[in-house]
């Protein structure tokens, strides 16, 4: 049996060069220091993506876009064996994935891992995050319940308000002047064909660059002489720990999905007013609040401009803080990062308070 396995392995190795790949993996090292923990978050995000692909394909088996969308999700949730679990896992993993990517992004940012030669790794990472948010936005509509309907109706007002080309773009995205079954149908195409087709090659580039450049040393460690820096081999040490993190992640997801099954609201009704305190998913809450804060047409344009500017600056940070000898510039980049974290945190918490207050107000009014 062992001899057979060995000869199969040899047959494969001669044709695929498995030993070369393994030698590369053994040769590759991962820095060991007090911030090594943050290196696992890219892998965790990747696991969530794989889970999304797997559960997404399973949902495709029963989901029907268009006018039957709500009914098919109702069937998945209440009629099909374990359908509620698959759907719950898909929704939970979507949210946990965005969370993991945020942690990954901020850890990369504060460890200055975007510096030369890893700029393209940073840019592709931002691209992946933005695609994930579009995944989230388009997937949110697919059940066509009340929340999905209003989230999309309101969300599409953002492109709508862009001067000149806005209405044309928003109408094309909606497939009409109001959110309807045409919107579901095209969001579905976007969610399961267009976005994966864009996401996969970008993810491939991102992962290849990580292999090529390896994990970055944080600046505080990088200044130490090479003899004082500790590393561990990628294979098998880091990979084993990576897999252990995946196992923990899988367990967390299983607990969330099984004990807090994702809700399905009432069927969307274009003639009904939204329930009080309606709000988007948590990762859109910050922009939701900023748009609320600035009133009037000019105020909204200003808020959106502010967000766009922040995103552009955030993306271009490797060009500003480009080398490890950046000194003052490196410090400014850190301050900018802290400012972004504080603004996002404050506006998000504020938004949840505002929502809670609205719900309370409504309850008192009744």
């Amino acid at each position: 049996m062992k001899a057979l396995a060995a000869s199969v392995y040899q047959w494969m190795d001669e044709r695929l060069g498995l030993e070369e790949a393994l030698a590369f993996a053994r040769h590759k090292t991962v820095p060991v220091h007090r911030h090594t923990f943050w290196y696992y978050w890219g892998g965790i995000s990747l696991l969530f993506f794989l889970i999304q692909a797997f559960t997404g394909i399973l949902l495709l088996v029963y989901y029907r876009p268009g006018p039957e969308a709500y009914d098919s999700v109702r069937q998945i949730t209440y009629d099909i064996n374990f359908g509620w679990l698959i759907r719950s896992a898909h929704s939970w993993a979507a949210n946990l994935m965005i969370g993991a990517i945020f942690i990954h992004m901020f850890s990369v940012y504060f460890m200055k891992a975007y510096r030369k030669p890893r700029e393209i790794g940073w840019f592709s990472g931002i691209g992946l995050l933005l695609l994930c948010m579009v995944f989230g936005f388009s997937g949110y509509l697919l059940p066509m319940d009340e929340l999905a309907y209003f989230a999309t109706k309101v969300g599409l007002e953002i492109p709508q308000k862009t001067p000149v080309i806005g209405p044309v773009i928003a109408n094309l995205m909606r497939g009409g002047l109001e959110v309807s079954e045409f919107t579901v149908q095209r969001f579905f195409a976007l969610h399961v064909v267009v976005l994966p087709a864009l996401f996969l090659p970008l993810l491939g580039l991102h992962l290849w660059l990580v292999q090529k450049h390896g994990n970055a040393w944080p600046p505080a460690e990088e200044v130490k002489p090479a003899a004082e820096r500790k590393t561990m081999p990628f294979f098998p040490n880091f990979l084993a720990k990576d897999l252990a993190m995946w196992l923990i992640t899988l367990n967390v997801l299983a607990v969330c999905a099984a004990l807090f099954p994702w809700d399905l609201g009432e069927q969307a009704d274009a003639l009904k007013a939204p329930p009080p305190g309606i709000h988007p998913e948590w990762y859109f809450m910050s922009s939701f609040m900023v748009i609320k804060l600035f009133q009037g047409a000019w105020g909204q344009a200003f808020a959106m401009g502010l967000f766009t500017l922040g995103l552009v600056l955030w993306t271009l940070v490797p060009l500003f803080d480009s080398t490890r000898h950046a000194g003052q510039r490196g410090k400014y980049a850190t301050y900018f990062g802290l400012l972004v974290v504080v603004i996002l945190a404050v506006t998000t918490i504020w938004a949840y308070y505002a929502v809670a207050a609205e719900i309370q107000q409504h309850a008192q009014g009744l």
């Binding site: 099909i80 064996n81 679990l85 698959i86």
Partner: protein
């Protein structure tokens, strides 16, 4: 491992390493199997939900076809026996017969040809006797599955032939 075992804080006693390693390997394999089952079982049941429904449907023993007794003699109609396409024939001599319409050759759907008084499968040219379902020509290896037919005023009752 030809090198002398390095002193380690985890395993001072090198004689115990082999069984310990074997234990860890079995434990990991067992846990892995538990995970595979915990994921595989719901996925299997999820995918097989419509199969389970169809099996319940297929377990029926009898179908009533209202108004089917008005079918003119020398003609046939298709109906569903549970999930399966089936064939009801009213013969020219007034007799009735019903079959599962699945050809015994490659599972195609057979049809009644009144002018030739035979059951014919268009896929590979198999033929059957319209009264008994016996295969009379072409590739089919065995007769069609036959149902019992009872004619009443309300309709026609087709039922599974009781097998011993």
């Amino acid at each position: 491992m030809n090198e002398p075992a390095a002193p380690s804080e985890f395993c001072e006693d090198s004689a115990n390493v082999a069984p310990r390693r074997a234990f860890v390997r079995v434990a990991m394999g067992g846990i892995g199997l538990c995970y595979a089952a915990a994921i595989g079982y719901p996925v299997y049941r999820y995918l097989s939900a419509p199969v389970e429904k169809a099996e319940v449907l297929a377990a029926i023993t009898e179908v009533t076809l209202p108004e089917a007794q008005k079918l003119p003699s020398g003609s046939a109609l298709m109906f569903k026996f549970g999930p399966f396409a089936s064939l009801l024939i009213h013969h020219r001599d007034g007799g009735w017969s019903a079959f599962d319409a699945k050809c015994t050759h490659m599972g195609c759907t057979v049809q009644f040809e009144a002018d030739k008084d035979r059951i014919f499968c268009a896929c590979h040219g198999g033929t059957y006797d319209p009264k008994t379902g016996v295969n009379t020509g072409g590739p089919p290896p065995k007769p069609l599955k036959q149902y019992e037919v009872k004619v009443s005023e309300a309709g026609i009752v087709v039922s599974r032939v009781k097998t011993a």
